[in-house]
């Protein structure tokens, strides 16, 4: 395939950040179709419009998703991207790899595709960028038979779940995010591969409220770790922080590039606590844990002195989505605390998931995210189908309008009234 002139893209080889243009040119030395990727992209830079056709429906037998079909609208100019399908590959939870596995995957992709990837798609999948329809089944065969790996999800189904790296290397993890992410991915293979929902549905698992996988913003079903008992304080370590001792920089040294002065526990921790539930007694740090909302700030600032409690679990928040159709939403708190335990194979979390699905699959409209169904039908109804008692924690503030619905059985006398009876006491 011919090399193309790419003056605009060439500009993007300048500067310190790793250049995707340089990488593509390097890849084009062994995979000439990459010249056509660059060529079509250059054309888009000139024309200021995409040159991919609308949509594309391709796949492998047995699955209803996993591959995103794409065709060039200028295939005569750029035959290398006439077909340019994207294959989503299920990733390991936490994205830990061996070079052996990555080499095997890349050998496969060099054989059947462009060799260009996205590590990783924002939902989490490893993404193989660009292949032809006739390569899909052979690629899938080798992927499953030789590498023992599977496709990710696409379409109106359960998308590929993702998690933070959890207990693997974080001292704040309140549950094993990788374990549940993997277990539920296995448990719900059917729901991932064969679209059966009104619309897409995503799981994300963050092991603490820092939410490193952004579950509260990017998943319909967010499991976010927390604890029920007291923050564990090591007063000796607190003193080390206050003394500015070697090895005890605030925030693990995150701000060492700036000149922020000596660590001031009053200013940087106590006064910034959102509930004001911390104070110093002499040189001892005190926390009124009953007033703590577990925002993580004090723990983030003094990781060697403060730790989450020992009674750990998670909160479940439901309904986050991007703006389309009726506005962006973060997830809403539904279950304040739940045990997340591999011992019962995450049965408690699975119970919650199935209640959401049973309801949403029945009442959800075509292409309506669960967050929109909750908005349309209302949080009270949603909580009742979830079999959750409404509690103050379910709202940030009570409603300010008085348009309150009552159930007929809650009102003495019900709704059946006779105007003649009314007129006996109130003349017209």
């Amino acid at each position: 395939m011919a090399k193309h002139e790419t003056p605009l893209l060439d500009e993007l080889e300048k500067g310190p950040w790793p250049s995707f243009v340089t990488d593509l040119k390097q890849q084009a030395e062994t995979k000439p179709e990459c010249w056509d990727i660059l060529g079509q992209l250059e054309l888009s830079y000139v024309d200021r419009i995409t040159h991919w056709k609308h949509g594309g429906i391709v796949g492998v037998f047995g699955y209803g998703g996993g591959i995103v079909g794409r065709y060039s609208d200028v295939p005569d100019k750029f035959p290398g991207v006439e077909h340019f399908h994207t294959v989503r590959i299920a990733q390991p939870s936490g994205l830990y790899y061996s070079t052996e596995n990555l080499r095997a995957l890349m050998d496969l992709w060099e054989k059947y595709g462009s060799g260009v990837t996205n590590m990783h798609g924002s939902t989490g999948d490893m993404i193989f960028l660009g292949t032809r329809t006739e390569n899909l089944e052979p690629l899938f065969w080798d992927l499953t038979h030789d590498l023992n790996q599977d496709l990710g999800g696409s379409g109106s189904n359960l998308r590929t779940p993702a998690c933070c790296l959890g207990e693997s290397r974080c001292e704040w993890a309140c549950y094993d995010a990788q374990e549940i992410c993997n277990a539920l991915t296995q448990h719900y293979q059917d729901e991932i591969h064969r679209p059966a929902f009104p619309y897409k549905f995503k799981f994300k698992f963050s092991a603490c409220p820092n939410d490193c996988v952004a579950a509260i913003a990017r998943s319909d079903f967010a499991v976010i770790g927390t604890w029920k008992d007291d923050i564990r304080i090591d007063q000796a370590a607190v003193k080390q922080y206050m003394a500015g001792a070697e090895g005890y920089p605030a925030n693990g040294g995150s701000h060492k590039g700036g000149n922020w002065g000596a660590f001031d526990i009053q200013k940087e921790v106590v006064d910034l606590c959102p509930t004001n539930c911390m104070w110093m007694e002499g040189d001892e740090l005190k926390i009124d844990n009953s007033e703590c909302t577990r925002c993580m700030h004090c723990i983030n600032v003094m990781p060697r002195a403060l730790r989450p409690g020992v009674e750990k679990g998670a909160s479940i928040c439901i309904g986050a989505k991007a703006p389309i159709l009726d506005g962006a939403q973060f997830a809403t708190l539904v279950i304040p605390f739940i045990e997340v335990s591999a011992e019962d194979e995450f049965g408690e979390v699975i119970d919650v998931i199935e209640k959401v699905w049973d309801w949403w699959m029945e009442v959800g409209k075509n292409r309506e995210r669960v967050g929109e169904t909750m908005q349309r039908i209302g949080l009270p109804t949603f909580l009742s189908v979830m079999e959750v008692e409404p509690i103050p924690q379910h709202v940030k503030e009570p409603r300010s309008n008085p348009y309150v619905f009552w159930k007929e059985e809650e009102v003495p006398g019900g709704w059946e009234r006779d105007v003649v009876e009314f007129r006996k006491k109130h003349a017209a």
Partner: protein
């Protein structure tokens, strides 16, 4: 646009092999063609039931039914639909029934 020849008849299709003119060109010969490309050995009454349900719903509503509705009207659980149509209700059954290509974030 590409066209496909099957047993002496030609059909206008898009890159993914969906009928561009839908019901206008759809016939049993088309079903026979799609059978071969969608991994189906024999068209059974069950296949026909799914095709009929899709066409009827599309004629009435102008869109393809949601998966749940297809399962309800045919009585086939999703698992059975995949046994009948290995590519699934969208790529397999809708293509065979001559419905437009599914769109959106697929």
């Amino acid at each position: 646009m590409a066209s496909i020849e099957h047993k002496g008849k030609s059909y206008e299709v898009d890159e993914d092999g969906f009928l561009l003119k839908g019901a206008e060109e759809w016939d049993d010969n088309w079903v026979d063609y799609v059978k071969n490309v969608e991994g189906i050995a024999e068209i059974t009454d069950e296949h026909q039931k799914v095709i009929d349900a899709l066409q009827e719903y599309y004629k009435k509503n102008g869109i393809a039914p949601m998966v749940r509705i297809l399962s309800k009207t045919t009585g086939f659980p999703l698992k059975r639909i995949y046994e009948l149509f290995p590519s699934g209700p969208g790529k397999g059954a809708c293509k065979m029934a001559g419905l437009p290509k599914p769109t959106g974030c697929v």
